[in-house]
């Protein structure tokens, strides 16, 4: 269970290699309730791999992650119950309607009967999916598909929300909607979002981690990070830190 400091996610020296390639080379951090952690890095830096290890999809080569006090390796079921996860590209079962899809995920989360219906309806309302709830997922636009998958992630009101590039490929209006949803939930949850859109970090994150070539190169508030550069711009800091690392 969460300790006194309300640490919801604790990542301990996670490492992952695929054959000879070291994708993640020792990543450690903590996220508490009320925090929105931005996970930044160039493509291929190891953001998705790290998230996949925290959510229990990929087994780490070494290290582990505790979610709500449960070890994702030794107690995966209880750890996964604490997590709402929006994978990259927002996958969904194309032949199912939005309602059927959410009912399915709710059922796997252990809800049934009227509670399940309530949960599904609430998630549909929270994500403004009323207009498309009876449409099959394959017929939805990218924005709606993203929101259906988002609805699936918040349906069980998880303590921890992990989102892999939640605004990738959305138009400015849709991005705005997603950011609003994140802000609305920020106080009650521990949120990790990966992104390479720097303005997003300034807009929604309370802390940012910059990762390059599988290692954390910075871990601070967006303001403190900005102060690291002479120009006071986040993209400047990002470039300096990640290019240095690659050189």
């Amino acid at each position: 269970m969460p300790d006194g400091k309300k640490t919801r996610v604790e990542v301990r020296d996670l490492k992952k290699h695929f054959g000879h390639i070291e994708a993640v080379r020792g990543v450690s951090f903590k996220v508490s309730k009320g925090e929105v952690l931005g996970f930044l890095g160039p493509n291929g830096a190891g953001k998705s791999t790290t998230m996949r290890m925290i959510t229990g999809f990929l087994p780490p080569s070494s290290g582990t992650a505790l979610v709500g006090g449960h070890d994702i390796q030794t107690d995966p079921i209880n750890a996964k119950k604490q997590i709402g996860y929006l994978p990259e590209n927002a996958p969904g079962y194309g032949s199912m309607t939005v309602t059927a899809f959410l009912t399915f995920t709710g059922s796997i989360r252990g809800y049934c009967g009227s509670e399940l219906t309530d949960r599904v309806n609430t998630a549909i309302k929270q994500c403004s999916l009323e207009d498309v709830q009876n449409q099959t997922i394959s017929t939805l636009s990218k924005g709606y598909r993203q929101r259906s998958c988002f609805a699936q992630a918040i349906l069980h009101d998880p303590a921890v929300l992990i989102m892999d590039e939640p605004t990738d490929g959305l138009d400015p209006n849709q991005k705005h909607v997603v950011r609003e949803m994140i802000e609305r939930m920020a106080a009650e949850k521990a949120i990790i979002i990966s992104t390479h859109i720097l303005e997003e970090v300034e807009a929604v994150c309370s802390r940012a981690i910059i990762i390059a070539r599988g290692k954390i190169v910075a871990n601070d508030t967006p303001d403190a990070l900005k102060a690291m550069s002479s120009t006071g711009r986040l993209d400047e800091v990002f470039r300096t830190l990640t290019l240095e690392k690659e050189a």
């Binding site: 079921i77 997590i83 796997i108 252990g110």
Partner: protein, 247 residues
């Protein structure tokens, strides 16, 4: 309790998904037409003048050979292709529950297809004469078990790849080999030069002899055990492959 619930949830989704597109109905119609044609025309069901289902059950393995891979090719390949596998395995369920749910759904789908022949073929043969109904029952049970074994093979090959066509071809190939190594014309070719124990060894691996004895009315627990072990083996292999592909 929850384990069974999770398996049931996966099972329901998978089984329903067959009927979410017209493909399932086309599949059932093709299955029934094919088996009807082979029984009544190719095997001269009426002309034989014997009131049993020998010419009907004879064709089941060969129809399964063609159609089971089509019914199972999407089980895991589609999850890999669309990325929903990442959703599925970050839910609080175990891999075994997911595999069992999917296997049972595909099996029930094949059993449904085969069972749809009962209202036509059984009354027909009863009108024509006085068949031994226990032999017919044994034949159907044998056919269901054979379908289960083919489905488990199809599920395994579907876990190899994200490409459904590759899965189809592979499972067709494996099923074909497992059928042919017990098919009389093939085994008699072996008896020409190989010692008897080798011929028996190869034939006992085959899906065919166990089914043959069942639809001839020899209901032996050893045959049931054979199919149960074949299915269990394929389920364990699927588990290994899926685990391996994740890391």
């Amino acid at each position: 309790m929850t384990r069974a619930h999770n398996t049931l949830t996966i099972f329901k989704r998978e089984f329903k998904s067959y009927f979410e597109s017209p493909v399932a109905y086309v599949f059932l119609v093709v299955f029934l037409i094919l088996i009807g044609f082979l029984t009544f025309s190719a095997n001269r069901f009426y002309e034989r003048g014997i009131a049993d289902l020998e010419p009907f059950f004879f064709w089941h393995p060969w129809v399964y050979l063609l159609l089971v891979p089509a019914a199972t090719m999407g089980l895991w390949a589609e999850e890999h292709r669309t990325g929903t596998i990442e959703l599925l395995f970050t839910m609080p369920i175990t891999m075994t529950e997911a595999i069992l749910g999917k296997f049972l759904a595909a099996w029930l789908f094949m059993v449904t297809a085969t069972a749809l022949t009962i209202p036509v073929i059984v009354p027909t043969v009863c009108i024509l004469g006085d068949p031994d109904l226990t032999i017919i029952a044994s034949g159907y049970i044998g056919s269901f078990l054979l379908a289960g074994a083919c489905v488990s093979i199809g599920m395994l090959t579907s876990s190899f790849t994200r490409n459904q066509v590759i899965s189809f071809v592979l499972s067709l190939l494996i099923c074909l080999l497992l059928l042919l190594c017990g098919f009389d014309p093939v085994t008699s070719w072996f008896t020409g030069w190989a010692p008897q124990w080798i011929v028996n060894g190869i034939a006992s691996l085959s899906l065919l002899p166990h089914y043959d004895s069942m639809h001839k009315g020899l209901f032996d627990l050893a045959d049931v055990t054979y199919y149960a072990s074949a299915i269990a083996f394929m389920i364990v292999a699927t588990h290994l492959i899926l685990n391996n592909r994740k890391s």
